[in-house]
């Protein structure tokens, strides 16, 4: 495991830009210095921690481990309590170390070659998918290879002070769901605490709005200069990376809506070869919807929509009946299909595609997004736009 980790690090080092090395190197150096506490003598351990904080003077974690080492040497392990004015910061640093340790020692599911079950299909335009796993404080970048997903990079990540499950404005929580990056904000235009820049995502999305969730301004951003990164729970709901991490992840993000950001309290990680089996029903569902539309059987087509959940269902249905009367044929082609099952709700999927519609009297190309909900075993569309 260790060797493969080293090799993959080398691959990363040669295939990506300079910042990549900085973030992963930082983590590796932190974990190595911790590892030294077990394997090396006191002097060497201290030296390596000295080097670490020398190189990264804003590494709170480096200072904490150094403090622990010295306190152990001084025989006063509880000395830390005197300076723990902020218990959350202390606990946060310990958690951060735990999470980073898990990743560096190859214990994360991604390092074992697993992928989140939520990634069912991605459009070719969606070259990279960001998958944030709060249970590991980790933001993963997967490359969409067309047939599968390849782990490209991962970063230590901070979420909201109050954790996951954003519901209303100011609750300091991070939303769980399927989102897309909407734009980019330059660091020079932002307060210092956001670091070198920010990528806002589309919270609240259509589903959030349906649930009357409030709040706005959920971003992926960097860190204030005093800290190399923040502790795991330390934002107002945003995903915060180290500045090195942020500068590196930029290369994988597009602001034209083609970068999905799937945020989960904890993914269900599966083997890539299980993926086809799991995603087949979703594809079948979408094909059926397409066929039923082309069949011009309005009742059949409408059976895919939830009368209770879809807004203005009656108007929508009436219009479909009206329109279909004039049709002699309908052809629907779906391109750039992406399907993501919703984190935290196994009975929901977000489906996006480019729809080319042709009929005897109409031709159009539309970008569509649908939210499918399964109720009593039946999948129905609850939002379409």
């Amino acid at each position: 495991m260790k060797l493969s980790r080293i090799i993959s690090s080398l691959v990363i080092a040669v295939t990506t830009s300079g910042h990549a090395v900085a973030e992963s190197r930082y983590e590796r150096e932190v974990i190595t210095s911790v590892d030294n506490l077990k394997n090396a003598d006191f002097r060497y351990s201290l030296k390596s921690l000295e080097d670490l904080v020398d190189k990264y003077p804003n590494s709170k974690l480096g200072y904490l481990v150094m403090g622990d080492l010295l306190a152990a040497r001084a025989g006063s392990m509880d000395l830390v309590e005197r300076y723990a004015d902020d218990q959350l910061q202390l606990a946060g640093l310990r958690d951060e170390l735990y999470y980073r340790w898990q990743t560096q020692t190859g214990n994360s599911p991604a390092a074992r070659g697993l992928v989140p079950a939520n990634l069912i299909a991605s459009a070719p335009s969606e070259r990279y998918i960001l998958a944030a796993d709060a249970s590991q404080s980790r933001l993963y970048v997967f490359e969409n290879t067309g047939t599968s997903y390849l782990l490209i990079k991962d970063y230590f990540m901070t979420i909201g002070k109050e954790g996951m499950g954003k519901n209303k404005e100011g609750d300091l929580r991070t939303p769980e769901g399927v989102y897309f990056v909407t734009t980019y904000l330059r660091g020079e235009e932002l307060p210092e605490r956001y670091g070198p820049g920010a990528f806002p995502i589309n919270y609240p999305n259509e589903y959030d709005k349906k649930l009357n969730r409030t709040g706005y301004g959920i971003w992926i951003h960097g860190t204030e200069p005093e800290n190399y990164n923040r502790v795991p729970l330390a934002s107002d709901g945003c995903l915060s990376l180290s500045n090195d991490g942020f500068l590196d992840i930029q290369q994988f993000i597009s602001v034209d809506g083609s970068t999905p950001v799937i945020i989960s309290s904890g993914f269900n990680w599966i083997k890539p070869d299980q993926k086809a089996v799991l995603s087949q029903p979703a594809h079948t569902l979408l094909e059926q919807w397409q066929k039923d539309w082309e069949s011009m059987d309005t009742d059949k087509f409408l059976s895919h929509y939830s009368p209770s959940q879809l807004e203005n269902y009656d108007t929508f249905a009436a219009r479909k009946y009206q329109v279909n009367k004039s049709k002699r044929f309908i052809e629907v082609d779906l391109n750039n299909v992406s399907i993501y099952s919703y984190p935290g709700n196994a009975n929901m999927m977000v489906v996006s595609f480019d729809q080319e519609y042709r009929s005897n009297n109409h031709h159009s190309v539309t970008q569509k997004r649908q939210y499918w909900l399964r109720k009593a075993g039946k999948w129905q569309i609850i939002y379409e736009g």
Partner: protein, 406 residues
């Protein structure tokens, strides 16, 4: 021996490196021969030689020690332990028996006994004990600096106070002027002891002061520093915590034994066996300092009682009450507030009060003390002499009364 406990799922690791320490004490010729035999693994010859020599000098510590070493090599651990134990009692100034005894305890899993024994080893040599305590204090200080940075703490650093040794451990006497020692800065310590480069020409502690520290600071005797380095290293941040540590004046005047940090003192008091015991075996500078310190504490207690009696005599209730701890437990199940009110009444109503303490008997244990004394009391209504006991607690620099018994 390294003992590190780690956070976050990293298991504690205990590694015991066994260094059998051979004695450095005299009897070179005879013991050399024995050790030569031991080295050649001729244990029975070595034993025979040792037994022969012991017949002439049955109490010779070097020979006894050699015998223990041989016994251990022969697998007679119990015998070795008995000899080591005997040597720690008869020759507490020898580090080696303590060390090897501690190894034995550690091997059998009794880490507590091992630790106690090693601490006794250091205590048996007060200079080493002091140097070790200073080293520990510096590590604690460095840990504090690191923690403050890690946790953005506003909690101020405790001043770093180190005990200096003014006299050599032998009976060599020399005049001691007790100059205040400028601790050359922890930054210096970090850069030098860890071999980092110091580059900038800072006007931190003067070379002279730093030099003086090198010569007198006890920490220095443990840490080897490059002699050429007297400048302090560059400061990464102007308001760095390290800077706060710099230029701390360490008092080297009589009370050198006092450690700065109350917590540390408590711990040291727990961990290190009563210094007086050691002092009885080896009356040394350190023991004298302990004695001086205790004398100073006793005087402070007596002064406190005198001042308490004066305030009482002056019927100055506030001043009188200021001699009591907030943890004072009044008699008769009164709350502290009720009792204070009662004292206001009792003191103020008197025309005059005379209180005279005398014949003190004092015992101090760490941060608590008990003083038994004779109290003469006279007012317009009443006069007597009783035996009174006051219990004290040291809070900050002051002894305060926690209990009053008649």
């Amino acid at each position: 021996m390294r003992f590190l406990s780690m956070c976050c799922g990293v298991k504690s690791v205990l590694v015991i490196s066994v260094f059998m320490v051979l004695p450095l004490v005299g009897f070179a010729d005879e013991t050399d021969e024995i050790y030569a035999l031991i080295e050649q693994d001729r244990l029975s010859d070595a034993m025979r030689q040792t037994e022969t020599l012991l017949r002439d000098a049955p109490e010779d510590p070097a020979l006894l020690f050699a015998r223990a070493v041989i016994a251990e090599k022969n697998g007679s651990n119990r015998e070795a332990v008995e000899i080591y134990k005997g040597l720690t009692l008869s020759h507490p100034e020898m580090l080696e028996p303590f060390n090897n005894l501690a190894i034995h305890y550690a091997r059998t899993g009794d880490y507590k006994a091992a630790i106690t024994t090693l601490e006794q080893a250091m205590q048996s040599n007060p200079s080493i004990a002091t140097a070790y305590r200073n080293l520990t204090a510096i590590y604690a200080q460095l840990a504090s600096v690191a923690y403050r940075k890690a946790l953005n703490s506003d909690t101020p650093l405790e001043p770093l106070e180190l005990a200096s040794l003014e006299k050599l451990d032998s009976s060599t006497s020399g005049s001691s002027q007790n100059p205040p020692i400028l601790v050359a800065s922890v930054q210096n310590y970090i850069t030098e002891s860890l071999g980092q480069n110091s580059s900038s020409e800072d006007d931190q502690p003067t070379n002279e002061a730093a030099d003086r520290t090198k010569k007198t600071s006890a920490a220095d005797s443990v840490e080897s520093k490059p002699e050429s380095e007297t400048k302090s290293g560059p400061e990464p941040e102007p308001e760095s915590a390290l800077q706060q540590v710099q230029a701390v004046v360490v008092e080297s005047a009589p009370t050198t034994v006092k450690a700065p940090d109350p917590e540390k003192v408590e711990k040291a008091a727990e961990a290190i066996p009563e210094p007086a015991v050691i002092a009885a075996v080896t009356p040394t500078v350190e023991a004298k300092q302990v004695a001086e310190d205790i004398a100073a504490q006793k005087q402070a207690l007596i002064n406190h009682i005198k001042s308490w009696a004066e305030a009482w005599s002056d019927r100055d209730v506030d001043r009188y009450l200021s001699h009591y701890s907030e943890r004072f437990k009044p008699r008769d199940n009164l709350t502290l507030e009720e009792w204070k009110k009662q004292r206001y009444g009792r003191l103020r109503w008197r025309e005059f009060i005379i209180v005279k303490p005398s014949k003190y008997s004092i015992s101090i244990e760490g941060k608590s003390a008990t003083v038994d004394f004779s109290q003469y009391y006279k007012s317009e209504r009443f006069e007597d002499t009783i035996r009174k006991t006051l219990e004290f607690n040291k809070e900050g620099n002051r002894w305060l009364i926690t209990k009053e018994l008649i």
